[in-house]
Amino acid sequence: MDIFTQQLINGLVLGSIYALVALGYTMVYGILELINFAHGEVTMFGAMICLAVISAIASSGTDANGLLIVSLGLLAAIAVCVMLGFLIERVAYRPLRRAPRLAALITAIGMSIVLQNTAMLIWGKQYITFPPLLPLVRYDIGGAVITNLQIFIILLSCLLMAGLLVLIRKTRLGRAMRATAQAQDIAGLMGINVNTIISITFVIGAALAAVAGVMVSAYYGLAHYFMGFMLGLKAFTAAVLGGIGNIAGAMLGGLLLGLIESFGAGYIGTLTGGFLGSHYQDVFAFFVLILVLVIRPSGLLGERVVERA
């Protein structure tokens, strides 16, 4: 039972991070029908910027509160990623908005490579460790351990996701975003500035990605210029699992993927009698994804696309 609870906690933490990143993919896809491959790299930049700021402050010898330093790092990461998200859309995607979709996909891949290598040039190839600024408190729940960091990650991502849902469902801006996603041209006729809305979408996605990046690096204690690739891939998988373009779907998909991964990794050994080990964790995630899509080709919450006549 304690293993079950432990995997549940791990899965929830992992899942909420995936969900935050997946939101960026799904929002952009919802409006532009573009897989923003560079989104994982934005997450990586968030982690890297935060770490750079944190270690700069920490090494300056202040006796400031650890939490304050990390918050400053987080804010810096959000600021930089927001600019990055805005620039990526402006430079790489806007000129291709009317071009074939595969062309935009290739620029997205190109952007991803550019960002990855820029990060490598700035911060080097080695792993960067997260300085132990946050006091770690462990709580015992029925034989399983949960840390204050884990609780914080889950709570913050829930808060952010709830905020996003309110933003999209209740505000004028949200309505404009939904309208743009439905029909860009008509939205334009209704007086919505489509370009601004698209920029805002990228900016919101990038801000969420920055938070997720900081969370990942704080959770694992590491950051690396290549970390965005697999994280982005998993997050995109989560978005597709939930039904791409659907905000709630991305959240559900992210959480599910996190849970599947952690339970899969925890139990696959016993299930197969030791034949397959926990290094098949990734296989498990992709396998479930394929299974879900074969049964429900439009994802869990995605609307069935009507065949065009």
Partner: protein
Amino acid sequence: MTLLSNQWNAWRHDRRVVWVSYIALGILLVLLPFLTGETLGRGWVRILDFTLLYIMLALGLNIVVGYAGLLDLGYIAFYAVGAYAYALLASPHFGLHLPFWALLPIGAGIAGIFGILLGAPTLRLRGDYLAIVTLGFGEIIRIFLNNLNAPVNITNGPQGINLIDPVAFGNFSFSETHTLFGVTFPGIYTYYYLFLILALLVIFVSLRLQNSRIGRAWVAIREDEVAAEAMGINTRNIKLLAFAMGASFAGISGGLFAGFQGFISPESFNLFESIIVLCMIVLGGMGNIGGVILGAVLLTIFPEALRYIGDLQSYIFGRILVDAADLRMLIFGLALVLIMIFRPAGLLPSVRRRHEFGSDASILAQEQASLYDTRR
């Protein structure tokens, strides 16, 4: 201007001119390894060999993505299957040493079966859902290759398989140096000619497929699946055929890769490779064989040529500012973005696409033209 282009067109369609240029191209291709070997060094002949391998690989993916319009992001998995089929059947790992003429069809066949295995459950998926499933499939294959060394050692895990038999016909091994009419052919040169012949074969098959009944069915499915089905095309079988055909092309290239390298490991078959092959065909011009070849050549040669950035830097600045290897991929990524922004349909778009994205009065432009331009 019109006069000039008319003259050019007349000249271009002149039979003699066509023949002369083909013959010149043929001579160039035959002499190419010697020319590069003398001027740029043996290392570049190896790169030429890889270019030919990538041409075969890209033409295989072109069937799936370019002709049939099925976005496949896990294509490298079939390359891996072909390579591992070759490696397991012709290396000391299992002690098997099958002859080459048997290995290549086996590799193609197994890869083709994997293609159908991937295609069958994903028939209902379209667009990006298909892309992500194929991506997952590619990763699954790679992870299995990485981990199938325990409890039964099948793939030798991350260490990969070593000492794979070189490609050989009877006693004629392609990896050894041969002398013919007083001319010495090192291993990489003979491989070049083998790959050249096979690449020409693949190009020929692609050309014939393009204008065949099957090729037209693929294009019909790409353009409109419902309409294609209404016209009596068995979309299920035709799509499966595209997957199987593309996969077997990759299987053949994979087998050649294994024999050529003598060593393979799961690392060679990661997602990035799939993406690069996809970039080749999109960059060159999807669905157009010439474009795909151009894309494959550019994307194989260009990253290698960027190795000279180090020399260029020390020439201009007197010292090396940034390590060339680090800068290489950055420039590569920038090039991808720039080419796509300025030539969204690829460098050499196929005739059909050129019409679609043509400058004036194209049907697609009319369809997609917005009521007002949202660009600004």
